[in-house]
């Protein structure tokens, strides 16, 4: 008895002492704030923040790895409370709303089989991806609706999920749970700066649009009479709809699926109709206005591209300043396109809209003369974006002896041969790089060696045998000491103060090499679309600047060089105003990410031009119904009067409301393969 009692007492006491000592020895300090913060969080453990549950998020918050706005589900109120605990300031996060683009239910879409199993999308998707023909079609059995912890998803009578913008807390549970991966989080910012996605229902017309306007969506709004919503949708991707609605060559209409039945829908005329409606109403509609911040951007060029870039920068809360060398903004839109196609008052109204969005304009200022990249960056601009597009960054006034160079040390080949090489006292730097592969490139290289060039290298993106000037000439140039770099492109330019100092090259084996350079001669027509910023902290020189890897830059693709800027895998020129607008809009993506201190990453699931996207050529059950044509302002008498035709007035008069509604009704409201079979 005594032994037993003593033994148990001893054992209990021994364990207690051991644990007590252990708890001292192995003590792990835990911040009491973690518990407090965790209580403040919703406790839904939704994982929307990216951490596994609320307690992990709280730990990350207290450790300083996450901001007070980490809880997307709790939104602004929770962020304020956390900020109060942590003593931080809150940066408002734009809500990203769950979104699915599928618009046709199981009855109307083409199906491969009739599914009668368990009523759950995940179960249905096990059978070859579900009953729908379309690989990104919504099965509509409400898995997302049941999974949503905030009750933000409801199933419509039509059998598709409806997302409540107010209730959605961007937690992403529906994105996870959807077996078809067709729900994603979308915000106005991502739509304004991004492109169409492969998991998004897109139509041939949308994909044909260089700037990617959501065409069926705005035509649907027009047919329902919601003109303001229609203009808002257009302005997410095109800030100048009045101008585009008048002069766009409308590649969308060429790809319109209605052409398989009769004639294309008057997509561009409808855009003009709503844009005219906005102008007549006098009320400006913006897709989105982010809270203002104090990040300034210098946009060089006040044409379509510059206006587009400035507009989206302003909408995202930044402070863009447009620098235009001409007296007034507008570029080609104002100075080249005739009044009969694009009246000046239309251009003025659109430019006023861009300025009213928050952009500033300085006209009569030329880069290289009145200011330089370095002086702008020194004046507090976070980035300098070259949106010189159709006219050019070079401002060489022949005959006036007035040579302006926009980027220090960089010449286009033609400028170099026509102007600089003929100047007596012109001297290149010691290390010269020449980008190109023609006979004139070799010519320029030889001129450089007589003008002070010591180390001259020709960079050519392709193989030696592809060069225009091959064989003896190349070998001869080699004997003269001119070096060649084949299968190499330039992916970055950097400099200090008013001098070029280096280039980044992508070599044959895809490795990136930094080389010193004093002069660069590029056999390109124009130097545009470059974004200059101060390099990161590792560069200590105060006046250093470098190019920002721009929108489409992808190190995996070695032909994405800065003189061959392409987007969607297709070289972009400035052939149409919508193309310049698209370039301006896409520059904003890189600028926005950079200004917010984020990594420049290519957009995920982006549709590229070379991708084969599901389509249909088989349209049945649609009655033929000819397209509405705009009335002409011309009278019979004025047909013969060239003054009238070319100068005095706009020829097209735009749609009447009735014609617009009727034309909008002709739209088949297409999806990848779906279309409105009952369209008139």
């Amino acid at each position: 008895m005594l032994t037993t009692t003593l033994f148990l007492l001893g054992l209990g006491f021994g364990s207690a002492v051991m644990l007590a000592i252990a708890s001292k020895v192995f003590y792990v300090w835990e911040d009491p704030k973690v518990a407090v913060v965790e209580e403040t969080l919703l406790g839904a453990n939704c994982g929307g923040c990216g951490y596994p549950g609320c307690s992990a998020a709280a730990a990350a918050l207290v450790a300083g790895k996450a901001g007070a706005n980490v809880c997307v589900a709790g939104g602004y109120e929770v962020a304020l409370k956390i900020a109060a605990i942590m003593g931080q300031e809150v940066e408002l996060k734009e809500p990203e709303i769950a979104y699915s683009s599928c618009r046709y239910n199981l009855v109307e879409a083409d199906t491969r089989f009739i599914y009668s199993g368990v009523h759950d999308c995940r179960a249905a998707a096990l059978y070859g991806g579900g009953p729908k023909e379309c690989p990104i079609g919504c099965i509509g059995m409400g898995t997302c609706y049941r999974a949503c912890p905030f009750g933000a998803i409801s199933m419509s009578d039509y059998g598709l999920p409806v997302f409540d913008r107010k209730k959605c807390r961007s937690c992403g549970i529906c994105v996870e749970v959807c077996p078809k991966d067709i729900i994603y989080l979308s915000s106005t910012t991502t739509r304004m700066t991004g492109d169409f996605r492969t998991d998004e229902c897109t139509t041939p017309c949308q994909r044909a649009c260089p700037s990617g306007i959501n065409i069926p969506a705005y035509i649907r709004q027009i047919s329902m009479g919601n003109y303001e919503e229609a203009i808002r949708i257009i302005k997410e991707r095109c800030p100048l709809p009045l101008i585009v609605g008048r002069i766009c060559p409308a590649p969308c209409e060429m790809d319109c699926r209605r052409t398989l039945v009769d004639q294309s829908v008057g997509i561009n005329s409808l855009k003009r109709f709503v844009a005219d409606y906005e102008m007549e109403s006098g009320k400006r509609i913006y897709p989105f206005r982010a809270p203002e911040n104090d990040k300034r951007v210098a946009v060089i060029g006040g044409g379509a591209q510059g206006l587009s870039a400035a507009y989206y920068l302003a909408c995202l809360g930044h402070k863009p300043t447009i620098f235009e060398s001409a007296g007034r903004l507008g570029g080609i839109l104002r100075y080249v396109i005739p009044e009969s196609r694009l009246p000046e008052k239309v251009v003025d109204w659109e430019i006023e809209g861009v300025l009213a969005a928050g952009a500033e304009a300085k006209t009569g200022k030329t880069i290289g003369k009145d200011f330089t990249i370095n002086s702008l960056l020194r004046d507090g601009y976070g980035a300098v974006a070259f949106a010189t597009g159709g006219i050019d960054s070079r401002q060489i006034m022949h005959g006036r002896g007035d040579v302006v160079q926009s980027i220090p040390g960089i010449y286009t080949l033609i400028d170099f041969l026509t102007v600089f090489s003929r100047q007596e006292n012109f001297r290149t730097g010691g290390t010269v790089y020449i980008f190109g592969g023609g006979n004139s490139t070799l010519e320029a290289a030889r001129i450089c060696s007589g003008k002070g060039g010591k180390k001259i290298t020709i960079i050519y993106p392709f193989k030696k045998q592809d060069m225009v000037s091959r064989g003896i000439k190349v070998d001869a140039a080699g004997r003269e000491g001119i070096q060649f770099l084949f299968e190499t492109v330039i992916c970055g330019i950097s400099g200090t103060g008013e001098e070029l100092t280096g280039l980044s090259l992508i070599k044959e084996d895809c490795s990136v090499e930094e080389v010193a350079a004093d002069t660069l001669i590029a056999a390109t027509g124009r130097i545009s679309d470059l974004i200059f910023v101060r390099p990161g902290n590792e560069d200590s020189r105060p006046d250093a600047w470098t190019t920002l890897a721009s929108y489409a830059m992808n190190p995996d693709n070695r032909y994405d060089d800065i003189f061959n800027l392409n987007e969607n895998g297709v070289f972009n020129d400035n052939l149409a105003v919508i193309r310049s607008i698209a370039k301006g809009r896409r520059m904003v993506r890189a600028l926005h990410l950079f200004l917010n201190g984020k990594e420049l990453e290519p957009q995920i699931n982006q549709i590229k031009k070379w991708m084969k996207i599901l389509n249909t050529k088989n349209i049945r059950g649609v009655n033929t119904n000819k397209r509405n044509i705009m009335q002409s302002n011309l009278t019979a008498a004025s047909y013969c009067d060239p003054d009238v035709l070319f100068n005095s007035m706009e020829i097209g008069s735009g749609f009447s409301e009735g014609a617009a509604t009727q034309e909008a009704g002709r739209c088949l409201d297409c999806g990848l393969v779906c279309y409105k079979k009952s369209a008139s």
Partner: protein, 201 residues
């Protein structure tokens, strides 16, 4: 010969005498932590760890203390006390030494401080020697048996979690939803494992 016996012990504890499905021990975590595969795996690893450690501690404790002082009737209470204290200690140590391991195992450790499967391993190590029930098992075989029991537990837990993840998609009758269908599943699973009992090793 030795190796063969170890293999036999492992096979026996994992499949034939599976702690959960044959001996019906440790049902609580079996039903509680088997909703998701990843947490089931974490729990299983924690159980393997604790069972092995317990076997290692309790066998000498019995042989050199309880038997020596002739107080073997205290075996249950002593083992509970020792296991509970041990698990607490291990939790503290892991938390200090390896936060990563703590994330993976640690959160499950408090759940099994007084788990009957763990106690069961300790007791059965003493009472059912192998191959002769009356002969002392020895330390090494005890540890192997503890390890095997843990693996058996993990196996049962993983199978159950896998089935339950699929059950979420299934069209279960309204009044069987939740716990009832889980019990039914567990029963059918136990029946399946019962088939192993005819094995001759």
């Amino acid at each position: 010969m030795e190796i063969r016996i170890f293999f036999t012990i492992l096979l026996s504890t994992i499949l034939i005498n599976n702690y959960v499905l044959s001996r019906n021990l440790g049902i609580c975590p079996f039903l509680g932590v088997s909703k998701r595969l990843d947490s089931a795996l974490g729990m299983g690893l924690a159980v393997i760890f604790v069972m092995t450690l317990t076997s290692f501690i309790t066998h000498p404790l019995y042989k050199y203390v309880l038997v020596e002082y002739n107080i073997t009737y205290l075996i249950t209470i002593v083992f509970i006390l020792v296991i509970a204290a041990l698990v607490q200690l291990v939790e503290m140590v892991i938390r200090k030494i390896s936060p990563v391991l703590y994330q993976a195992l640690g959160i499950f450790l408090p759940l099994i401080t007084a788990n009957c499967a763990v106690l069961g391993v300790a007791l059965l190590n003493i009472s059912s020697g192998f191959p002769d029930p009356n002969v002392d098992l020895g330390l090494l075989k005890s540890v192997v048996q503890g390890f095997g029991s843990g693996v058996g537990f993990t196996l049962a837990l993983l199978i159950m979690a896998g089935i339950r993840e699929r059950l979420e998609l299934a069209d279960v009758p309204e009044n069987l939803k939740g716990v009832p269908i889980t019990f039914l599943t567990a029963g059918l699973l136990a029946l399946a494992f019962y088939g192993f009992s005819g094995m001759r090793i």
